[in-house]
């Protein structure tokens, strides 16, 4: 401990760290939205997938959710199909 540490007021929360924490959240959010900048074929793909699923199972319009994300150097197509409860036997 240095001489003047004794008379300086105690340390406040480090505001740079707070800034970084807050920024990390908004930037992560911005980047997810950016990654979600969808390719042109996206709407058609979603429509076709829904059509295929409906050949076998009656589902609602929002049953097929697709998303494009990035992992390392790969674009990843995420596909989520929700089936209605009662179709399970």
């Amino acid at each position: 401990m240095r001489l003047f540490d004794l008379i300086r007021p105690s340390r406040k929360a480090n505001s740079a760290d707070i800034a970084k924490e807050r920024l990390q959240i908004v930037i992560a959010h911005q980047r997810t939205e950016r990654a979600g900048a969808r390719p042109a074929y996206f709407a058609n793909l979603q429509r076709d997938l829904l059509e295929v699923v409906r050949r076998y199972v009656p589902v609602g319009d929002d049953a097929v959710q697709i998303d494009v994300g990035r992992q390392n150097d790969c674009d990843i197509l995420e596909l989520n199909i929700t089936l209605p409860e009662h179709t399970r036997s």
């Binding site: 480090n14 740079a16 800034a19 920024l23 980047r31």
Partner: protein, 270 residues
């Protein structure tokens, strides 16, 4: 082939024009034929920072509208050989810029210059998008401050999607991070974002750090690009940036606080 470099940031007042002026002048000082183009139509300022405001006869918009050939609108710098400025129009608005017109002017400039430095307006609208659209390199100017960092990230997104290189699926625009108005003393006190924190968040290679410096205001007061002031810390920092851009290796300066007697006595709690 001329290389097109945009100085951009999203947020206003972070040092885009200071950077364009210093960077362009630095390239010319090293013998490269360089032109700095002001894209801030309606709010032109590059002419003031470069000290050529009284020599503007024709501007960028008049060249785009083919009222005069581009060479007639170029203002040759009186201090540095190989350096010219193309001023923005002060009376028009940014709609006067068209993609075709900008492309035509840049193509004409590319015939006589090695480097074309595009000084982007603030924001993410038409003017800013056109300034970056044809770029090969981008200097993303960021202050160690939350809104500037967020805006820079936004600009990085646009550089990856709204440029000619992105649309043509070519090699992407080379991004360079320039952190300006950096105060290492405040960083050590934990009051300001540190270089590595900013870099980690934006994930762009760091080209250089410009310290918060009284020399920048003094230089713009006088209409002298700060890089022409050898004694100024900010001027030397810009010289490093130009050297690194051209492939030279230089250690990072101005990132740690200088240890004076007083600081040693009071200590740092960083």
């Amino acid at each position: 082939m001329a290389r097109i470099i945009v100085s951009t940031s999203g947020k206003g007042g972070v040092g885009k024009t200071t950077t364009s002026a210093a960077f362009g002048t630095g390239l010319a000082l090293r013998g490269h034929k360089t032109v700095i183009v002001d894209f801030d139509v309606g709010l032109r300022n590059l002419d003031l920072v470069m000290g050529c405001e009284r020599r503007v006869v024709y501007d960028f918009v008049e060249v785009i509208q083919e009222k005069v050939p581009v060479h007639q609108a170029l203002i040759r710098d009186k201090r540095v050989e190989n350096l010219s400025v193309l001023a923005a129009s002060q009376t028009r608005d940014k709609d006067a810029l068209t993609p075709e017109g900008v492309e035509r002017v840049l193509t004409a400039l590319a015939e006589q210059f090695d480097y074309i430095v595009c000084d982007s307006p603030a924001g993410i609208e038409r003017g800013a998008q056109l300034a970056m659209y044809f770029a090969d390199d981008a200097l993303v100017v960021t202050n160690p401050e939350v809104s500037s960092v967020r805006d820079s990230d936004r600009i990085l997104g646009l550089l990856e999607s709204r440029t000619r290189r992105a649309e043509r699926n070519e090699e992407r625009v080379r991004q360079h991070l320039v952190i300006a108005r950096y105060d290492p003393v405040r960083v050590e006190k934990g009051e300001m974002l540190a270089v590595d924190q900013i870099q980690e968040m934006l994930a762009v290679p760091l080209l250089g750090v410009i310290p918060e410096s009284q020399a920048v205001l003094a230089a713009s007061n006088a209409g002298t690009p700060v890089i022409l002031q050898d004694s100024a810390d900010a001027g030397r920092a810009y010289d490093d940036i130009v050297a690194r851009y051209l492939g030279e290796e230089r250690p990072m300066r101005f990132v740690t606080a200088e240890r004076g007697l007083l600081r040693r006595l009071f200590g740092s709690r960083a």
